[in-house]
Structure formats: C-alpha cells, structure tokens
Amino acid sequence: MARAIINLPASAKRGEIIEIKALAAHEMETGFRRTQYGAVIPRDIITSFACTYNGVEIFSADLHPAIAANPYLAFSTIATESGTIACTWTGDNGYSLTESVAISVA
C-alpha cells in the first residue's frame, strides 16, 4: 500500500537546483485529542525526516504534533550526480519508512 510519495525530476542538469516533495501517509495523532469518554488518545506522530543523496544527508527535519496529518515536506537540493535520493521517516511506536528514487544527472 502507498505509504509515501516522493516527487522529484527524473533527470536534471549538473548544478541545477531541483525541488523534492515528500508526502507520507500518517495520521499524526497529536496526543491532545480525547475520546468521547475523556481519555487522552496517545500521541502517535512522525518525529523526524531525513533525505540522503547517494548516502549523504542533504536535508532533515524534526516534526512535532503541529505538523498536519499526511505530512508534506518540500525542499530543494543541487543536482550533483546521478544516483539515489532516499527519504526516511521515523516516528512513535517504532514507525520507520524509507523510500528511494533514482535521479539521472548529466
């Protein structure tokens, strides 16, 4: 099942700034909501995101409950070489997901 979508150009020119858009399926339960009986619904969120380009981290983020459900992040990087861009999401209750996309740089 689709747990995340990464969007970036399949190819780019060396030195070009490309935009990376990462969208993950996650409810981001804040920990502030209560059931109809008053019990707190425990927090369950993605807490961090990291993006690597051929193994080197180029962007990362710490996320808090104020990030909306199905968290979306858009950021940029310079296309330096062909290879793999990998995004990793980690969070509460052992949540962990990595998705990779290939990029061709000429």
Partner: protein, 168 residues
Amino acid sequence: MNTDSTRRNARREFLLAAGGIAAGIALESAAAPPPIRAAASRAAASAEATQQAIRKITGAAPVNKGKVRLELPELVDNGNAVPLAVRVESPMTPTDYVKAIHVFTQKNPLPDVASFRLGPRAGRASVATRIRLADTQTVIAICELSDGSFWSGSADVVVTIAACLEEI
C-alpha cells in the same frame, strides 16, 4: 470511527459558554469550561512557553528581525492543514548559508512546530509544509545562519472552525 468530535465538542462547549469572547481551544475534558481569568493566564503561559522554546534554540544570542519570509494564508480554510512556506534570503554558498529554520506558534498546545536543517547543498533556503493551527495567532520562524546569527520573521493568521460539525 470517531475523528475530531471530542476535540470539537470541548471547543464548542467552551466557545458557546464563553459567549462572544475570542477564546482558544478548551484542552481539558468536555466538562465545565474554565473561567475567563484562567483563559487569559493560559494565553500568557503559552507566550512564555513560546519564548522558552525559542531561547532553547538561540540561547542568549540576539535574534534579528529580517531575512525570513513566511507565506501563510491570512484566513485559513481549515486549521487542520495550513500550507506554510518559509523562505530565507541567503546566497547558500559553502561559506554563507542557512543552517536551520525553526517554526513556532504562540497559541498551539505546544510552541514547537518543526525544525528544518539545510546546508549549502540546498541551493535555495526554502521549505514548505502544512501545519495545524489551533486558533487565530502568530506563526514565527527563526533561522540560524552559518555565521551563527539568528534571524526571525512572523505572520498573523486567522483560524475559524468548520461550520457544520460531523457529530453533535
């Protein structure tokens, strides 16, 4: 399948009881709404919490106003998902770049929203995401440059609740 009903029930009851006074979300259970004085002191407490959260990032260093631009709707369609973009004026060279961007709110239950770590490889100091806003408030972004200086920008946003709720 119960979504936001309890949060909204608590909020609705609080707002209806508080009458025409602009108020934040009642975070306690859906029992008797807290008195006005408590609401005012809670607002003050969260402003202090926001300052503390900012100080945790900046330490004793001064925070300059400028360079940081927040793009947010002035009136949100829904406080559950408010598109936010933060852009910082910076050449993003290996010697002059944005190290990090930190976003805070003043009236959410927690002041921290997100911290983004960039670097010269970003090419552009620009990030976008979607955030939750509990109430009409100011959103603040603090950026940390490679020379260790801090710069800030902010934007005011008006937040309403949905007119017709799913559950009473």
